[in-house]
């Protein structure tokens, strides 16, 4: 005997047997025999007693003597079977050897088996074990059948069986439920076909014919209209069955309602292919469509048009009206763009060929490429004129104001056009070149369409990558501040420094002139300036700790930053973070910028002034300052523009202007500082005119902070620089001087 069977028998032997016999002798002996073989024995000496006993405590098997006075074995068995829960309890009927009629009666009464009375106990025990084992198997089978039914029910799945020839299509109860039918309703092949919508029926029949002809596996989804009118999608999967001689006899398989899954899949596919905000095809879907359009164009030799549409100054809307308004605007723009092409919303992924010869037309669409960028795909254009006409239609559509957040916004767009194959063979090339063209439209004043030309490429592309790199510059720590000392030549001391931004891009310093305008244009100047303020505050602290620096570091700010209401908070946060006073930061604003937006910035200037942040007017003399305004502005310093300094002593006008600025500053009680001082001669003249604060290459070019420290240590403190004269020489020089404001020690070395 194998081990598992032995284990099995051990488990079975512990079973409880209810022995029923009116003959005490038999009861005793059978009981003793079975007990010896490991069974647990309970006895009953009559049918009535047996029923009572098993209701109270159900045994695993009943051994029932057929012949008993009162309720005999047959009656007892019959009654037992009517009790709930005892329908399949194994019952062994004991009969006489010579009693065929009893055997038949035993089965009719619901006995599981019969056994001829004898004292062959081992046979009886073996028979009982067999009964118990099959009862258990049956229980397990029923349990797993119930489980399967439940699982199928949950999965909205059921099985079916189809026999060839007899028209035999038989569904399980669960299978019928899939089709909305009750357990007792039937579903013939003909009825099932009738559930399939008319349009689909032919296709389904075709598939069935094919599958049966090839005896192949069936796996298909079909639509079915259920009796209650609901349209569901049913997945059918079946395998062929063959007779012993290899003839197809039928199919067995499963049906499953996959409507919900299908809907979820459709939803997922939609999410994956369409922009959530605007409902337009997204980058993925668009790229796919462009790819297909290019394939088609390649095969049939036609051109494909790609339009990149970028909204002008969309950021302003977002910044001033908020993101919700920005979203509303994008949605309206999407609606308008959609009306400009034969937009198709179909989710396209495969099998386009089945749609007929001009299927590529269904690719035509406007999609959102991200942010405020849109793409229009024209799957077939005759020439660039076609594409331009669509571009003009788009610009025209944008002309009407869009009302968002209660305000009328005028949104314009810049459109770049690229054509396959002229401007590129791949999606990537066409995208890049439409981008270049779009950039050209923007640089020519926006609100225009521009067709790609090869000569645009170099400039636009470089600029584009520069801009995208600049985006990442802050997080990559590629930005640094260099410092140019402000010198009081009368004391030969550094009285402050101007911070100048440098960008170390891939290890190469990008000139400020190359990236500052780009930053201004793209709006990046805001985060850049905010970073500069923080960084300057940090440096002020380092210098304070290192050599007692107590002056201020001047940071250049674009005018638009002064318009921001949170500028004061930002500066406050920066200086507090590093534990330096507000006066550690000085702000420089250009004269031109200030005068252009004076209304918008004056509030900020006052608030800054109140907290101790001084304002310096940069490039002074180049703009047309309203002197009236100048007197009312809370400013502290005027910076003489370098152009006047450069020509100082060369043209009388320069000297006159500088003289005037100095006089003006003095009368307004403002400091005046000259920048771009490169020669001793310039220094001398400025000093003579009464300007003792200077900045320029003569003293130091803008340097990294560590170099500034070294410069102080090695040049300024030992008084070794050519612009520093010994005190005694300075003493004599002062004689020729006109009145020097502040009466500081003149240390300027006179020439000659």
């Amino acid at each position: 005997m194998t081990t598992p069977a032995a284990l099995d028998d051990d488990a079975l032997a512990a079973a409880t047997v209810l022995l029923v016999d009116d003959d005490m002798v038999n009861l005793l002996m059978t009981g003793a025999a079975l007990a010896e073989r490991g069974f647990v024995i309970r006895e009953a000496s009559s049918g009535e007693e047996a029923i009572q006993s098993l209701v109270q405590n159900p045994p695993d098997v009943v051994v029932l003597d057929a012949m008993m006075p009162g309720l005999d074995g047959f009656d007892t068995c019959r009654e037992l079977r009517t009790l709930p829960g005892f329908e399949s309890l194994p019952v062994l009927m004991l009969t006489g050897l010579d009693d065929d009629a009893s055997i038949t009666r035993a089965y009719e009464a619901g006995a599981t088996d019969f056994f001829v009375k004898s004292n062959q106990w081992s046979l009886l025990a073996g028979r009982l074990r067999y009964l118990l084992r099959s009862a258990r198997t049956r229980q397990e089978l029923e349990r797993s059948k119930a489980k399967l039914a439940r699982a199928q029910d949950l999965a909205r799945m059921g099985s079916f069986d189809w026999r060839r020839g007899h028209g035999g299509l038989v569904f399980s109860v669960e299978g019928l439920r899939v089709f909305g039918l009750g357990p007792h309703e039937g579903l013939s092949f003909r009825q099932a076909l009738r559930m399939i919508p008319d349009d689909d029926r032919g296709t389904v029949l075709g598939i069935l014919h094919d599958v049966i002809r090839h005896s192949s596996v069936l796996a298909t989804d079909l639509r079915a209209t259920l009796p209650d009118g609901r349209l569901r999608i049913v997945h059918v999967e079946a395998e062929p069955e063959f007779s012993e001689n290899g003839v197809l006899v039928g199919y067995t398989g499963v049906v499953q309602d996959v409507t919900d899954r299908r809907m979820a899949e459709d939803k997922i596919r939609h999410l994956a292919n369409f922009d959530a905000l605007t409902g337009l095809p997204n980058r993925r879907q668009l790229s796919w469509r462009v790819e297909r359009a290019l394939e088609h164009g390649r095969r049939l030799g036609h051109q494909v048009g790609l339009l990149l549409i970028d909204l002008d100054r969309f950021k302003n809307v977002n910044d001033t009206l908020g993101h919700a308004a920005g979203d509303d605007l994008l949605m309206e723009v999407s609606r308008r763009l959609r009306s400009c092409v034969r937009h198709s919303d179909q989710v396209l992924e495969s099998s386009l060929e089945s749609m007929g010869g001009r299927w590529h037309r269904t690719l035509e669409a406007v999609g959102r490429f991200g942010g405020d960028e849109f793409i229009a795909l024209l799957p077939e254009v005759a020439d660039e004129g076609d594409a331009e006409r669509v571009a003009q239609r788009i610009l025209e559509q944008m002309r009407q104001p869009i009302t968002v957040a209660g305000e009328e916004c005028f949104v314009t767009a810049s459109v770049g056009i690229a054509l396959y194959p002229r401007d590129g063979n791949t999606v990537a090339d066409l995208l890049r070149n439409s981008d270049v063209a779009m950039y050209a439209a923007k640089s020519q004043g926006r609100n225009a369409a521009s067709i790609y030309r090869p000569q645009l490429a170099g400039k636009g592309r470089a600029k584009l990558t520069l801009e995208s790199d600049l985006h990442k510059a802050i997080e990559r720590n590629e930005l640094v501040l260099h410092y140019q000392p402000k010198i009081d030549v009368r004391t030969a001391r550094m009285v402050g420094a101007e911070a100048l931004m440098r960008w170390s891009r891939n290890g190469v310093l990008v000139p400020p002139g190359d990236f500052i305008p780009l930053a201004e244009e793209s709006g990046l100047i805001i985060p850049l300036s905010e970073w500069a303020i923080r960084e300057a505050a940090r440096q002020a602290r380092l210098w304070q700790d290192s050599f007692g620096f107590a002056e201020s570091i001047a940071v250049n700010l674009p005018t638009r930053l002064f318009e921001r209401t949170d500028l004061v908070e930002h500066i406050h946060a920066a200086v507090t973070a590093y534990g330096v006073p507000h006066s550690a930061i000085e702000l420089e604003i250009t004269e031109t910028g200030l005068m252009k937006e004076v209304h918008d910035v004056i509030k900020s200037l006052h608030r800054l002034n109140e907290i101790g942040v001084e304002i310096s007017i940069d490039d002074f003399g180049t703009g047309y300052s309203s002197l009236a305004y100048l007197t009312t502005l809370p400013i502290s310093e005027l910076k003489v523009d370098r152009s006047f300094v450069r020509d100082l002593g060369l043209t009388p006008q320069s000297t006159a202007v500088v003289t005037a600025i100095i006089a003006l500053a003095r009368s307004l009680g403002l400091r005046v500082i000259a920048e771009g001082v490169e020669t001793l001669r310039q220094m001398e003249v400025l000093h003579r005119l009464g300007c003792g604060l200077m900045q320029g290459y003569l003293f130091s070019r803008p340097q990294p902070p560590d170099d500034i420290e070294r410069w102080l240590q090695q040049t300024v403190l030992p008084r070794k620089a050519p612009w520093i004269v010994p005190a005694d020489e300075a003493q004599s020089a002062v004689v020729d001087m006109p009145a020097v404001p502040g009466g500081g020690l003149p240390i300027v070395k006179p020439r000659g």
Binding site: D23, M24, V25, N26, M29, A33, M67, K117, N119
Partner: protein, 139 residues
């Protein structure tokens, strides 16, 4: 408790000295009964004989009364029960007589029923006497 004779050791002395030529109790059947309680710890043989006496003491009068009433089914039922009980205790001759009575009733040959029941009664008396002589019962 007395030693239980092995199954192959033949009949115990009391049965062997009985006047009748053939043994009343079948040695093999008795041996099988004893096998069910080899150590005698459950006193099975004693209990079975006790149960048999009670059962037979009830069945025999039942059979006679039924016969007197002409209730042949009653006769048959009593005979059936006594048949298997007797076989179990080794009274095979008695069991055979019970079977004969049962068959007679079933086949409707009720004419010979009276002497058959009479013979059955005599054999039952012999069997009960023999059982009374079993060491397990005397003890």
């Amino acid at each position: 408790m007395s030693m239980t004779p092995p199954a192959s050791a033949g009949l115990p002395a009391p049965a062997a000295t009985h006047a009748a030529a053939r043994p009343v109790l079948d040695a093999e059947a008795l041996a099988r009964l004893r096998e069910l309680d080899p150590t005698g710890s459950t006193r099975l043989v004693g209990r079975v004989v006790e149960a048999y006496r009670t059962s037979a003491g009830r069945l025999e009068p039942q059979m006679r009364e039924a016969l007197a009433r002409g209730d042949h089914a009653g006769v048959r039922h009593a005979a059936h029960t006594l048949k298997s009980a007797s076989a179990n205790v080794g009274a095979l001759q008695l069991s055979a007589l019970c079977a004969a009575v049962e068959t007679m009733v079933r086949s409707g040959e009720v004419a010979g029923l009276d002497p058959a029941v009479e013979a059955l009664g005599l054999e039952l008396a012999r069997a009960l006497a023999a059982l009374g002589q079993l060491p397990e019962v005397r003890a």
